[in-house]
Amino acid sequence: MTTLGDLAHARAGDKGDTSILVVAPYELDDYARVDDVLRAERVAVHFGVDASHVTIHPVPRLGAFTVVVRARLDGGVTRSRAADPHGKTLSGHLLDLVVEG
């Protein structure tokens, strides 16, 4: 089984109750494949949120994407009761996304 982490690397940041992750394929040749995986609907299911809470910005000239997931941080870093209030660990979760085919 191939996961996104076999093709790409990621880092998570946060603004308020929004998690913002950069994803970049290791090889530019995999850009289209990563683009196929990063559909808002699929990412939303993977993060357990409504599809309307996910926005994906392709940045083709840099060979990267930003993945924006809203309302997943229990209120954000200063309000959250969670063990990881920043959601820094969500980069590892994103890379678990299964790549089909």
Binding site: R11, T18, V22, G48, R61, T66, V68, V77, A83
Partner: protein, 443 residues
């Protein structure tokens, strides 16, 4: 104009000390910048200052400065936002430190004030993402600080300051200021501020550009993380910047480390708003031009925001956490039972809302509670957390978790209880004209 070399001395208030000392000693720096002010730090600092339980500035910066001082070249300018809620207070403490050191004599110190907008923020200003206004916060409001641009720090440098202490200046602006002064760029021109702001954006987290927060498995190998070197940039007159790190230090700077740092907290890469320029990051170029040497070019701006973002500190009560650990066969099941017991007692015995207590299984899925992992964990920690204004409720949660030792499932150990008072941060916006950053020359 000659190329300007600027280094990052810290990426947050708790950062390591010696990478800045190594940069100062080997880096031939024109400027060294210490980013020490997280979003919520200023609210906590204002609260401390108000209760006179401590200073409104980050005292650790004095140790950082004392560490680099023996290595600093006379020309090296130092900037920091460690002034937090009291830049003038820190500036005075810096003057005392410098005057007691042979390498400090004659260095002039300035403070930038005016980011505190508590007195001028309109009561009807809307809090981002809510229906509330500033007025609705009442006496829970503890601070309101605007993210100011590079302009005031540039005036301080033009006035001859060697050390500039600020509060809530935009992180990137702290770096942009000395670069822009050197190259004669105008802080009112977003096009001229695009390049130095981009350099600041990349340097602001220090070690995160040079391989910190990057290593992962066999594919993202970073040598020498224990001796990670912090980055510097050589910024040319055309705005092109070459990034590197001090010779002999650990870490790695590559296209991938720079790319992660460029975009990782940017919602819309086409419109990254900073006080000095709205950056278009989509067309930026990143090229490896040597070993641990990366060139970043093609910074561009689409004007700058008419309003400045304001970080608003809100008294938010207490966060109480209690946890207890289980191991071996059936560990997850026993930890789950522990959570259930506390939640049941919370409702039935204490008559409180069970929804106010968050329950997690650490070691299983606490970091992604919507996720169903495969397999059973060897160890798991039952963790209960509560946000409350009621100190007695916090104490009650602690008692309930501790009581699991003799009243809960088998084999619980290592109960751990914590309580801290918290300041939440929300955002609003203020018209640029209402904010008046000023320079105070302290020596």
């Amino acid at each position: 104009m000659s190329t300007y070399r600027i280094g990052a001395g810290s990426g947050f208030a708790g950062d390591r000390f010696e990478p800045a000392e190594i940069l100062a000693a080997r880096g031939e720096l024109d400027a060294l910048v210490f980013e020490c002010l997280a979003e919520r730090t200023i609210g906590l600092a204002q609260q401390r200052a108000a209760t006179s339980a401590g200073a409104g500035f980050d005292r650790v910066f004095l140790d950082r400065l004392a560490g680099v001082l023996p290595h600093l070249e006379p020309r090296t300018r130092v900037l920091t936002n460690a002034g937090a809620a009291d830049p003038v207070g820190l500036a005075r403490a810096v003057v005392d430190l410098l005057s007691a050191h042979p390498r400090g004599a004659g260095r002039r110190v300035a403070a930038v004030v005016g980011d505190d907008v508590t007195a001028v923020i309109p009561a009807d200003a809307r809090i981002t993402g809510t229906d509330l206004t500033i007025g609705d916060l009442g006496d829970r409001l503890v601070s309101a600080n605007a993210y100011i641009g590079a302009g005031a720090a540039m005036r301080a440098l033009e006035n001859g300051a060697d050390v500039v202490i600020t509060g809530r200046m935009g992180d990137a602006a702290l770096f942009a200021a000395p670069i822009a002064v050197h190259h004669g760029w105008d802080d009112a021109s977003p096009d001229q501020m695009a390049a130095p702001t981009l350099v600041g954006h990349l340097l602001e987290c220090a070690g995160q550009l040079t391989g910190g927060y990057f290593a992962d498995g066999g594919r993202k190998v970073v040598p020498g993380l224990a001796t990670l070197g912090f980055p510097f940039a050589d910024v040319a007159a055309d705005g092109v910047a070459d990034f590197g790190k001090a010779a002999g230090t650990g870490g790695l700077i590559s296209r991938a480390t720079v790319l992660e740092q460029l975009l990782y907290e940017i919602d819309d890469p086409g419109r990254y708003k900073t006080p000095d320029a709205t950056l278009d990051l989509g067309d930026v170029r990143i090229d490896e031009v040597g070993s641990d040497r990366v060139r970043v070019s093609a910074a561009s701006a689409q004007g700058r925001p008419e309003q400045l973002k304001v970080s608003v500190g809100v008294r938010d009560g207490f966060l109480a956490v209690g946890s207890i650990a289980y191991a071996g066969r059936g560990a997850r099941e026993r930890a789950e039972l522990a959570l259930q017991i506390v939640r049941e007692r919370w409702e039935v015995v204490h008559g409180r809302d069970p929804g106010e207590v968050r329950a997690d299984l650490q070691g299983y899925n606490s970091l992604r509670p919507w996720h169903e992992p495969a397999g059973e964990p060897a160890e798991v920690r039952a963790r209960l957390s509560l946000r409350t204004f009621d100190r007695a409720a916090a104490a009650l949660l602690h008692r309930e978790v501790e009581a699991l030792y003799t009243n809960g499932p088998a084999g619980g150990g290592g109960a751990d209880l914590s309580l801290r008072e918290t300041v939440g941060i929300v955002s609003t916006f203020i018209d640029r004209e209402r904010v008046d950053p000023r320079v105070e020359m302290v020596s």
